[in-house]
Symmetry: C2
Subunit: 291 residues, 2 copies
DNA sequence: TCAAGCTGTCCTATTGATGGCACAGCTTTC
DNA sequence: GAAAGCTGTGCCATCAATAGGACAGCTTGA
């Protein structure tokens, strides 16, 4: 039943080209979710191979990748063990802060401006921002880093009439919304859509990820009091370095009980006791950009 | 240092396992971002092959995948065209409803119970739910469907003392929180973490996706007034069928302006004027390709 | 001490993914 | 109507990914 038919049902296309990747993802999820738990010994390579119907070579590749990410430790003669890990995201955004700043607990955040240009809007942009016919937009792509590590990829579109109120240099140093409000532009209403997507080549490179990695996606459109769009943001986050947290309390009478968001204490305890060295290496290799 | 394996460079894959996948993601991003725009004709297959330095076979695979997702339409003899409105999610959850029901605009939602068992908790679960030593948990896995199409995969862990207050059959028909409150258990506080992850084999099969697809992830822990955990939920959503929407308004004085969530009208205009036929096609095709 | 079991390494088939080419059928353009 | 260009399809060659072994060196436990 589940021998060669493992790939029976699923959606599109052919055959999974990478069983190793598949096994890697499976084990990674089990480890990160705490399902396997730190310091536990994984099943032996031959066992894993048998359980998942793959060869030991494939199992080894999956384990190699896990070891590369620092999730497991392999002890020859003994077994393969799950590492204790600075688990969840390094940066968390409280719900009420989503639109403003990050929770910056004494960490240094930088912004790198990838591109900056004025262009004709796509049809989708025109309708989202309620642009006038012929009106152009400013497109900027930025990457945010914390402690030198990239965690978000931001594609921003702003109507030209608004974009000219600040400079390219401003954008590289100041949050866009702040720039806008500083110029007297009033943000009144906003709509956010949160989803998930896969990393394409450019985004993957910018966020120091492999192509096809999972990303948390947020699309935001900000409107002024007259209902015209003043900012269109497409943000892509590395889920291992950024997540959306919210605390909720149950309110209301018994008949109509519901959940309400709660203010978070501003500084959550920095649980970054040790940055895994693999990460550090990777970043230093990647780029020694801004100071 | 890094052995002789193909996976040499830790993350940024020097050798990409799947050129087709890579090209697929690249084109998908350009289409979804509006970079290519609806009704535009893509470069011809030979041209794309040349531009990206791959063979036409590979280009074809990438385009096949795009077509499967309904993003493009291929017209023999004419060219390959970007479809109008790659569409957004079919189901959207308003922020204030995240914890309750979906916005069910006259659509039929079903729940399928995948598994149900009592087991020993993992270490992570023990700490998350603040379990007593030796206390067991009830684990249930459910899939939610709308109009017969799966969109969410729910893994729930509940302390045994609480789980016994309802039956397996209850779980397949009623939301868990409702069951709990019906039993007199009080949900007081909750914490939610939203992120993204990749689909593993089981989840992919259950949600009718391919392995490695992007998923919106939500982890929720609900506590009773005494601070003990009563529910641990790991929810995985198909981002093309479910997304998190929120409307915000700018409040507060000039000094401390911030964003606050806004109540949504309960029934958002069903922008599903017509379920795009591409979707329908996909489903039927999907069944056909079972081999 | 010995036996069992584990990882590290090497080897050889087989299968899948890709590259490269040719041709048919269709649409558009001139 | 003809030419050009596109997608759909088939074929074969090449190379990477996987399967399936074998063996060495190590650790653990009896």
């Amino acid at each position: 039943m589940s021998k060669h038919t493992i790939w029976d049902g699923p959606l599109v296309s052919s055959v999974e080209p990478l069983k190793a990747r598949r096994l890697f993802l499976l084990l990674r999820d089990r480890i990160l979710s705490g399902d396997i738990g730190p310091n536990t010994r994984l099943p032996s390579e031959p066992l894993l191979a048998q359980e998942h119907g793959v060869s030991r070579v494939t199992v080894r590749r999956a384990l190699d990748k896990l070891a590369d990410e620092g999730l497991i430790e392999r002890r020859p003669g003994s077994g393969t063990f799950v590492n204790t890990r600075p688990t969840s995201a390094q940066v968390t955004a409280d719900f009420s802060n989503v639109l403003t700043h990050l929770v910056e607990m004494g960490r240094r955040t930088d912004v790198k401006l990838i591109s900056f240009a004025y262009m004709a809007p796509t049809p989708a942009l025109t309708s989202d921002l309620k642009l006038q016919p012929g009106e152009r937009v400013q497109r900027s792509v930025r990457v945010r880093l914390i402690d030198g590590q990239p965690f978000s990829y931001l594609i921003t579109h702003v109507p030209e009439r608004i974009g000219i109120s600040y400079s390219e240099a401003d954008l590289a140093s100041t949050p866009l919304l702040e720039l806008l409000e500083r110029s007297g532009i009033v943000a009144e209403r906003a709509q956010q859509i949160i989803g998930a997507t896969l990393a394409g080549p450019e985004v993957a490179a910018a966020l120091d990820l492999e192509i096809g990695a999972a990303l948390l996606s947020m699309t935001r459109i900000v409107y002024d009091p007259s209902g015209r769009g003043i900012e269109h943001l497409q943000a892509l986050y590395r889920p291992d370095r950024y997540s959306l947290n919210m605390d909720l309390i149950r309110t209301g009478a018994n008949g109509a009980r519901r959940w309400s968001p709660v203010e978070r204490p501003r500084v959550s305890t920095p649980k970054t006791k040790s940055i895994p060295k693999t990460r550090v290496n990777r970043v230093s290799i990647q780029r020694r950009t801004t100071r």
